[in-house]
Symmetry: C2
Subunit: 457 residues, 2 copies
C-alpha cells in the first residue's frame, strides 16, 4: 500500500515536468522545421555581402550596414528597432600596397601581402631592409637589438595543425600579429611581416587587428600569405642575405560617429529581464565579412524572425544586438555595456555567434556552476540535432563585459575546421557559406534562447 | 589474503589490455598528428581535379585517372599496384543541351538544364510538349494516360529540408530521378524534367544516373535547376497552358575497357585476411568530381601513405581499391566482387568513403551484432577527435556485394549539410574542399583500419 502511495506521489510530482518536457521538445522541433524551411538568413546574408559588402568601422559601407540591417530587423517583425550611438576608430587601408623580396643574387619575388589593421603606413617610398626570421615570440628577445636593429622582422609562426579546435591554434600563433610589431620595435626593427594566421597553404594574405605598445616606436606591419611565408623561410635557409621592400598607405583617421543596431521583442512576464542575442556588424575590408561576422548577425535576426513567425510571445525581453567595431576597437561593446550599467538593466543571458556560419556542434558558456548545471539539464533537447556539446569555457568577445553585471554568457560553437581558411581574407565571401549550415546555427541559437526565456537562471 | 590475491589476479589480467589501450591511444594520436601535419591528400586531390578533371566511365579522363592514381599509390609507398580490368558503359552527353519554357502568352524562359546520366537523347529538333507537374511519384499514376499522354512530365519533388541527415531526403526524392522517366513513359509521356536533387535554391542543374524499365519506351530525361523548378511551378499555378522545348544529344555507346586501381600492403601475420579501403574513381562530367568522389579516393590513398610514413607493418593485408563506374553501372564493384569470390579471398573488413570530404562525425556500419559490439569498444579512441558516432545502419555502395562473403562493412560519415549543394553539379570542384576536413576523414579511416588490423573481428 505504502509502495502504491509512493508511486502515486512520484507520478503526480513528475507529471508536470514530463508534460512540460514533451511540450518543449515539440516546440523545439517546430522551431527546427520553421528555420530549416523558411529562414531568411541566407538571403539576408546575400544582401549584406553583395549589396553592402565590406564594412570596416567608420566606412560608408558600415553606415549602410546599419541602415540595411535595421530594415531587416523591422521586416523580421521586431517591435522596436533603434540605433545605439558610439564613436568608432576610422582606419583606412589607403592606396595600393605592394612589396617584394630581394634574394642574395638580386632576384625579386613579389609578395602577396596586406597591411595589418590599425597599423601605420610606410613612408611614400616604402621601407627596405634585411629580413630576420623568428619562429617564436621568445626568439625576438633572444636575438635582441644586435640582430634586429634596422631590420624587418619576419614572424613565421604557423598555426599548429594538430589542434582539433582551430581557435586554440589561432590563440597561440595570434600573438605574433597583435603584439609582434611592438616586440620587434622594442629591439629596433623598422618593420614587421607576419605569416598569415591561416589554416591552409595558399596565396591569400589574412589581415586582422594589431596593437601598438605606446612605449615603443610604431612601425609598419603587414601579413604575407602562407605560401609566401613557406617560400621565404626556405630561401632564408639558403642565405641570410635576403632583403624585403614593402609599401603600405594605411592610416588611422579621426573617430567617426557610428552605432550598434538593436531590436527588441518585449517580455510578457518579466520585461525587465533582458536576453541579448547578437553578432558584430563591422567586417574587414578585404572581402564581404561573410563568416566574420555576417553569419552571426543574420542568425541573430533569424532568431527574432522565427519567434515572430511562430507567434511565440517571450516571457522575457529578447534583444537582438548587432555590435559595431568588434574588429578593431570594441567600441560597440563598450557603448552597450555602459548603457546597460547606466540604466541599471537586468541582463539575464547573452549569446553571441562570431565563430562562422558552419555546422554547429554546441555552445561554449561563461557562467556559474549552478547556471551551467541547469543548462546541462537542457542538453537532451539538442541531441536530435547533433548540437549537444556544451562546455563552460568561454563566450563571445562582444558580450564579455556583461559578465561584471552577473550575466550568464554563451557563444555558438560551429565546426571550426574551415574558419581560418577564409578568416580576414579575400575568400570570406557569401559563396563560402552553406545555407543549411547557417540555418542550423540560427536554429540552435533560437532553441537555447527559448529555453532560457522559459526557465530563466 | 584472499582479497589481495584476487586483486593481484585482477591486476595481472587487466595489465595487458590497459597497456595495450594506452599504446593504441598513443598510436592513434600519432596517426592524427601525421595526417594533420603531412598528409598529401589535398595536393593529390588538386591534381586529380585540375589536371585530370571530370572522369566519367569510358572517357579519356577516366583512363588518365587510372594512370595518375596508380602513380599516387606508388608514391605513397604501396608494395604492389595493379589494375583490375572491367568493361564499363560509355554514356556521353554529346553536343549542346538547351531548352526553354513557353508561357501561355508566348513568352520564352531559358532553362538551366542537363541530361540525366544514361538517358537517351532527343531527336535533333528536340522535343516540345505541354508540361504536367507532379509533386509525388504517386501522382503520376493518379493523373494517368488521360493527362500525361504526349506531354512532358515535370517531377517537382524537393528534398525535405527538415531532415537533419540530407541523404535521407536524397533517398526519398531521388526516386523521381531514377524511376521518374519510366513511370511517366508508362502513361505515354514523351519526356521528363526533374527538379535537381539539391539542398539549395540556385541555378545549377544536378545530373545523376537514371534507369529505364525495359517494359516502357525510353524517353529523354533532364534535370532543371531548383530555381527554375520553383519558377516553373509558380507559373503553372497561374496557367496550365505552359509548354517546354528541350534538346539533348546524349547517347549510350558501346562498352569500353577500364579498370579498378588496386594497391596493397601485405599483412605480416595474416596476409590472407583482407581489409579493403576505398572510394570511387569515376565522376560525373559536369565538374571535377571533387567531393564525389575524389575526396574518398585521396583519403584512401592517404591511409596507405600515412601507415608507410609511420613505418607501420599491418598484421593483415591492407588493400586500397579505387572503384571504377560507381556512378552509372557499378561494373568496378562487380569485377572486384567476382574476383574475390573466384579467388576464394577472405575479406575481413571493407571501408568506403563516398559521402564527401567534409568534417567526419563517425561511421555507418553493416555488420553482425557481435562485430558491432566489438566496434563500440573502440569508440572511446575517437572521442578526442569528435568522430565518435557509430551506427549499424548502412555502408558504401561499392562494397555492398562483399556482404555475401561475410565481410564486415563500413562507410565514413562526414557532415552531410553541404553535400547536396555541390553533388553532381558544376560546383563540385576542388575549391569547395577544405584541407583540414579532408584530412580529418583520412585520419578517421586510418584509425579504424588500424584497430581492425590489430584486433580483427
Amino acid at each position: 500500500m505504502l509502495y502504491r502511495i509512493a508511486c502515486l506521489i512520484l507520478f503526480v510530482a513528475s507529471f508536470k515536468p514530463v508534460a512540460a518536457q514533451q511540450e518543449d521538445s515539440l516546440f523545439i522541433r517546430k522551431l527546427f522545421n520553421e528555420v530549416m524551411s523558411n529562414a531568411n538568413a541566407y538571403e539576408n546574408l546575400r544582401f549584406l555581402c553583395k549589396k553592402v559588402g565590406p564594412r570596416l568601422s567608420g566606412s560608408t559601407n558600415a553606415a549602410k550596414a546599419v541602415v540595411e540591417t535595421s530594415r531587416m530587423l523591422t521586416e523580421a517583425g521586431a517591435e522596436r528597432v533603434y540605433e545605439q550611438p558610439c564613436m568608432v576608430p576610422h582606419w583606412v587601408r589607403g592606396g595600393k600596397e605592394s612589396g617584394y623580396v630581394i634574394l642574395a643574387g638580386g632576384e625579386k619575388h613579389m609578395l602577396k601581402l596586406c597591411a595589418l589593421g590599425n597599423a601605420v603606413g610606410t613612408p611614400k617610398s616604402g621601407i627596405k631592409a634585411q629580413v630576420v626570421e623568428v619562429t617564436s615570440m621568445k626568439q625576438i628577445s633572444e636575438l635582441g637589438e644586435k640582430n634586429i636593429k634596422g631590420k624587418i622582422v619576419f614572424l613565421n609562426i604557423p598555426m599548429n595543425p594538430t589542434y582539433l579546435y582551430t581557435f586554440k591554434a589561432y590563440g597561440e600563433s595570434g600573438v605574433a600579429r597583435w603584439d609582434g610589431p611592438s616586440q620587434a620595435a622594442k629591439y629596433g626593427a623598422i618593420g614587421t611581416m607576419v605569416r598569415s594566421l591561416a589554416s591552409n597553404n595558399d596565396d591569400y594574405p589574412h589581415t586582422g587587428v594589431m596593437s601598438y605598445n605606446d612605449s615603443f616606436p610604431k612601425i609598419p606591419a603587414i601579413a604575407i600569405s602562407t605560401n609566401d611565408a613557406q617560400w621565404l623561410s626556405a630561401q632564408l635557409k639558403l642565405s641570410n642575405n635576403v632583403s624585403v621592400w614593402f609599401k603600405t598607405s594605411c592610416e588611422m583617421l579621426a573617430d567617426v560617429a557610428s552605432a550598434n543596431v538593436i531590436a527588441e521583442i518585449k517580455g510578457s512576464e518579466f520585461p525587465d529581464q533582458i536576453i541579448t542575442v547578437g553578432g558584430h556588424l563591422d567586417s574587414w575590408d578585404l572581402a564581404e565579412g561573410a563568416h566574420d561576422d555576417g553569419t552571426g548577425c543574420m542568425q541573430s535576426i533569424e532568431v527574432l524572425r522565427t519567434m515572430k513567425a511562430m507567434g511565440y510571445k517571450p516571457k522575457r525581453t529578447i534583444r537582438i544586438v548587432l555590435f559595431m567595431n568588434e574588429e578593431n576597437g570594441s567600441r560597440g561593446e563598450e557603448a552597450y555595456f555602459n548603457a546597460a550599467k547606466k540604466n541599471n538593466e537586468k541582463h539575464l543571458f547573452a549569446l553571441e555567434s562570431d565563430a562562422g556560419g558552419f555546422s554547429p556542434s554546441g555552445f561554449g558558456t561563461d557562467m556559474t556552476k549552478d547556471q551551467f548545471t541547469k543548462v546541462l539539464t537542457w542538453k537532451h533537447y539538442f541531441e536530435d540535432y547533433d548540437i549537444n556539446k556544451f562546455s563552460n569555457d568561454g563566450s563571445g568577445s562582444d558580450i564579455g563585459s556583461l559578465k561584471s553585471l552577473g550575466t550568464a554568457l554563451s557563444e555558438l560553437r560551429p565546426d571550426s575546421q574551415r574558419y581560418f581558411d577564409v578568416h580576414h581574407a579575400v575568400t570570406d565571401v557569401f559563396e563560402n557559406v552553406s545555407r543549411r549550415e547557417l540555418n542550423l546555427g540560427a536554429f540552435a541559437m533560437a532553441a537555447f534562447v527559448y529555453l532560457v526565456d522559459q526557465y530563466g537562471f
